[in-house]
Symmetry: C2
Subunit: 206 residues, 2 copies
DNA sequence: ACATAAATGTTGCCAGCGTCAACATAACTG
DNA sequence: CAGTTATGTTGACGCTGGCAACATTTATGT
């Protein structure tokens, strides 16, 4: 009787609207200054309406972060599909996508990795989403090892090495703590190329 | 006439005590839940006393972060001195120290890199301290290039590649977002060794 | 159909926070 | 020793996250 199948009672899909507005407001400012009340006002509901859809502020933040991890997973899968059977190019492309996504949603990235959320099993769905992203990288490393293009060694550990390089660059770029000289002389793409190349060189069998 | 030379008026070096207490409380919980009022209570002064020494809460956070960068710089310098004229071992040791410091002060590390503070020229002393830490890494890379142990290339860019790898590992470790399997099977030291080795392999001339 | 329960949204309230203004006191300076 | 400055306190303000009580809309059972 309604347009979408899950359109609830009064407002329309308020949970989704809250999530969406929260993402916008988050990127417009930063995590610290994101208030549940501002989100409610943005959507046009009372300041306690969000509590009908999220237990507390943290639950909303978790949902935002989960969305970020899912988008990251999708991007990494895209990188794999873009270069079938070519782990080297897959890893290079994955690096670009990882960095690009971080730059596109810096505040969300900080939320995902900045220690703002508990990482134990309080939110199992968040853990699932984040580990799914990591498994994309693992797949690339494993493929490369099978094809003899990457060095042998524990898959988890080598994947972590690759992840660390890309992740570190992303975090440094959005932390804006890089020396000016790097910001002036080099674009993010150029720096990503350089970092990825170094990493690949360390991973490749020879 | 007094025990230390800079003991001011009523309290004793209140600024230092506030800074110290803030660091403790920060690591006991997290950035979000660190309140100026709690710091004041911890030190035993009224809730506005800190404003005589810090313009606002952010200024205090900046001071904490600056202290973190200075400690990092010192640690990296120590790594250089520990292995004179051996850039490879210097870089390996620097990696260990970087990761260890992050694990020792995870909340402070998040404060330093988590996008909680403005990174423009609002706080020049913070920028100075953070760039000083980076220059330690640059020195190692440059030495290695001069000795022919590291590949040629732009020093800034190669240093960034090294920094990214170490930094990424540190951030992933303290974000506690690593898959369980890595936490169970591997100690932080083991993971650091692996990541550093991969990075070194990518940097070394052959 | 209609009564009842469940889901959803609002109003009002509370404590805690950062911060400011006004005031109080201690230390330095002439 | 008077006056200025540095330091600390009290009280207030608006904002925040969150709870309780209430209102309204939708779903459900008979």
């Amino acid at each position: 009787m309604v347009t979408t199948q899950t359109k609830p009672y009064h407002h329309g899909d308020l949970r989704q609207e809250i999530l969406c507005a929260a993402c916008s407001l988050l990127e417009e400012n930063n995590i610290a200054s994101l208030s549940l009340r501002a989100v409610a006002k943005e959507v046009g509901v009372s300041h306690t309406a969000p509590y009908r859809h999220y237990k507390d502020k943290e639950s909303l933040l978790v949902d935002i972060a989960k969305q970020g991890f899912d988008e990251l997973s999708k991007d990494l899968m895209g990188a794999i599909q873009q270069h079938p059977d070519n782990p080297i190019e897959q890893l290079r492309e994955a690096g670009f996508r990882y960095v690009n996504l971080s730059i596109k949603h810096p505040q969300c990235t900080q939320l995902m990795f900045g220690g703002h959320l508990p990482c134990d099993d309080t939110y199992p769905e968040l853990k699932t989403s984040s580990e799914s992203a990591f498994s994309g990288l693992k797949f690339i490393i494993e493929s490369g090892q099978k094809q003899g293009q990457f060095i042998d060694g524990d898959v988890e550990t080598l994947s972590l090495a690759a992840w660390a390089g890309i992740h570190g660059l992303s975090m440094l770029l959005i932390s804006e703590r890089l020396p000016d000289i790097l910001k002036i002389d080099s674009s993010a793409r150029h720096l990503t190329e350089a970092v990825t190349a170094t990493m690949l060189s360390g991973l490749q069998a020879r």
